[in-house]
Amino acid sequence: MQLDDLNAIAEKHKSSRKKICLRSCMSAGCMSSQADVTKKNLEAEVKAQGLEADVEVRRVGCMGFCGQGPLVGVDQNGSHGLWEFVKPEDAPAIVGALKGNPCNVQRGDPNHPFFAKQMHIVRANGGIVDPERIEDYIAIGGYKALHHALTEMEPAQVVEEVTKSGLRGRGGAGFPTGLKWGTVAKSPGSKKYVVCNGDEGDPGAFMDRSVLESDPHLVLEGMAIAAYAIGADQGFLYVRAEYPLAITRLQTAIKQAKQLGLLGGGIFETPFTFNVDIRIGAGAFVCGEETALMASVEGKRGTPRPRPPFPAESGLWGCPTLINNVETFANITAIVSRGGAWYAGIGTEKSKGTKVFALTGKIKNNGLIEVPMGIPLRQIVEEMGGGAPDGGKIKSVQTGGPSGGCIPAEYLDTPVDYESLTKLGSIMGSGGMVVMDDSTNMVEIARFYMEFCMDESCGKCIPCRAGTVQMFHLLEKILNRQATARDLAKLEELCDMVKNTSLCGLGQTAPNPVISTLRFFRKEYEELLQPDPFGPRGNGEAPKAGLATK
C-alpha cells in the first residue's frame, strides 16, 4: 500500500457515488427503533420507483440527534435535508419526496441551533461515512494522516505536534496528552503497548459508543499514529460488552484495515508494524480506571493498584503503556493532518479543542453534541438543548457521572472547560451531561450515584468498600426522614475521609455527587432532617424534651 493506492481507492469509490444519497442512521439508538428495517425498505423502494441510477441508500453512523431518531438524511443537489422519527413504512413517502412528491414525514431542520452551534472534529464523519466500509473512510481522506506521520515525520515530531495542540485527555482527568506520549516514548524498553480505553462506564454518557460505532477507523488511525510516536507495535482496544454493535463494527474495521495493509506489518512500506486486538470488558465500572483496565486486559480481576509506577513506566506486563480515551485518539488524526497550532486555536487558554457531550435527561433535544471548549453551559442547555420539556424549569446539570457533580441553574453561564467545572465542584468527566428539572429530588440523585459507587466498588481498599456503604445508608436514612443533623455531619465527615484515603479514582470521586449537592442544595437535605432528640452536638444546649417520643 502506497499513497497512490490510497488515492486510487478514494477516486474509485468517489466515482461510484450516485447523485442523490439517502443516509440512514444505523447507530444503536436508531437501530432500536427498526432503523435496519427502514434501510432495507428504502433500498427496495428506490428499486421499485426506478431511481436506482440516481439514488443510493447508505448506512451511516450517528448523526447526533438521537432523541428524534430514527433519522434519515438526504444529500440532493448540494443541499442537505433530514427526516425525523422515520418508521419502516415511511420509506415510499421519503423516496417519493425525492421526486418532489408531498411527504408527511416530520422534517428536521439541519440549521437548528442543535446542529448550527456545533463544531465537528471528532464527530466530523458521523452520519456521513459508512462505518462498515473502509473505502468510505478513505474517500474522505482517511489514513492520509497516518501516511503523513509515517513518511514525513519523526516519532518525536508527532509527540511535539500533539504537545503543541494542547490536547488533554478526554477520559475525564484532563492530563495533557502530549506529556503522556512523551513520557512513554522516553521510557526505556523495547516492547511498548498502546491501549484505547473504551470502557465508557459513566451512566448517561455514550460519546465513545457513538464514535466507535460511527467511525471506527478514525480511532484505529489515531491509535496507529500514537503507536508510531511512542514506538509500540501492539495495541489493545478495550470495549464494554454492553456495546455489541461497536464491537462488531470494530472487528470489521480491523479486518478491512489488515486486508489493505493499513494495519499489520510494514504499513505504507515502512518498517512500522502495528496490530490491534479487541478486548471485551465484562461489566465492571472500575475497569475505566487505567490500572484496573490493564489488569482486565491481562485477563485478571479488574482491581486497581497504587500509582506510581504509572502505566507510562510500567503498564501491561510491566512494559511502558500508553492509555488514552477513545475521544482522545479520535482527535489525533485532525491534529496530525492540520497541525497542532490549528488545534490550539480552538477553545480556551487551558482547554483546547472541542469536546463531545451526551446531552440527556429532562431536556427537549436529546443527543450528542460536539462543541468548542469554553462555550457557556447556558448555550448548550437552552439554545441547543431547547430547555426543559413540558414547561419545566431547569434545576441543575449533572456532569461527570458518578465522579462529578451537579451545577445549579444559577451557574449556567459558566464556560465549559476543565478548570471552570472543577471550580464548581464538578468535573468535565467523559462528557455525560444529564439535565434535571425542578421535579428532580437532589438527595435522591445523590443516593442514586452512591448506590452505583457502592455496587461498583471493587473491594480492594477499605475506605471505598466500607465508606460507600455507610454513606449510602446515611443517604437512605435522610431520604426516609429518619436522620438528624448529626447524621448529616457524619455524612460530610465520611465524604472527606473517602475522598482523601481511597486507592483509585472511583473511591476518591465517589463522594463528589454528595459534596456538590450539599454545596448547592443543602436546603433539600435539611428539609428532610428530623430534630435531634439529644440536641445539636457540642453547643451545650439541653435536649429538647418530648421529641424522642414523637
Binding site: 479488574g302 440527556t360 435527561g361
Partner: protein
C-alpha cells in the same frame, strides 16, 4: 493434607473431561481457546464464549476452562465472580434488562422496573420459578438519547413506559 489434595484434584478434572467429551459445545470452546493460543490473558474472552455457548458458567465449566488454560481454578472463579456480565446461575428463557443509567433514571426507569417486578413477582437479578423470565438491570447501555430504554431478549426498545414494558413481558409470563 497434601496427598488428599493430589488425590482429589485429578478426580475432579477426570469427571469434567469425561463430561466434556460428550458435549460438542466443549469442543467449540476448546477451538476458541486454541485461537487465543491458550494464553492466560485470554481468560475473559474465553469466559465470554463459554457463557455464549452455555448460557451460564457452572462449576464444571469453570474447571474445564481452568484446566485447559492451565490456570488455578481460584483465578478462573475469581474472574468469573468479579465481573457483572458473567452469571453462575442458569438464566430464564427470556431476559429483560432495564437500564438504570442516569438519563433513564431521571426519566423514570425505576417506575418501569417496579412495574415489571410487581407483575413478574421477582426482584431484579432473579428468574421466575417457571424459568420463563430473568429480570436484570444495567448500569447504562449507552442508549441515553432514547431513555428510558429496556432490552428485551437482546433487542433495545426505546422510550418505555410501565405499560409498554408490561405489555412486552406479558407475552412471556
Amino acid at each position: 493434607m497434601l496427598p488428599t489434595l493430589l488425590h482429589e484434584k485429578p478426580k475432579a478434572v477426570d469427571r469434567v473431561m469425561q463430561h466434556a467429551s460428550g458435549d460438542k459445545r466443549f469442543k467449540i470452546l476448546e477451538v476458541h481457546m486454541k485461537k487465543h493460543q491458550f494464553k492466560h490473558d485470554a481468560l475473559i474472552e474465553v469466559l465470554h464464549k463459554a457463557q455464549e455457548l452455555f448460557g451460564y458458567l457452572d462449576d464444571d465449566l469453570l474447571l474445564f476452562v481452568a484446566y485447559k488454560l492451565k490456570l488455578p481454578p481460584s483465578r478462573v472463579y475469581g474472574v468469573a465472580t468479579f465481573y457483572h456480565f458473567f452469571t453462575l446461575k442458569p438464566q430464564g428463557k427470556h431476559t429483560c434488562v432495564v437500564c438504570l443509567g442516569t438519563a433513564c433514571y431521571v426519566k423514570g426507569s425505576a417506575k418501569v422496573l417496579a412495574a415489571i417486578e410487581e407483575r413478574a413477582r421477582i426482584k431484579s437479578g432473579e428468574t421466575t420459578p417457571d424459568n420463563q423470565l430473568s429480570l436484570l438491570t444495567a448500569r447504562c447501555i449507552g442508549a441515553c438519547g432514547i431513555a428510558p430504554a429496556v432490552t428485551y431478549d437482546g433487542k433495545v426498545a426505546p422510550k418505555q413506559t410501565p405499560q409498554d414494558a408490561l405489555e412486552h413481558i406479558g407475552k412471556w409470563i
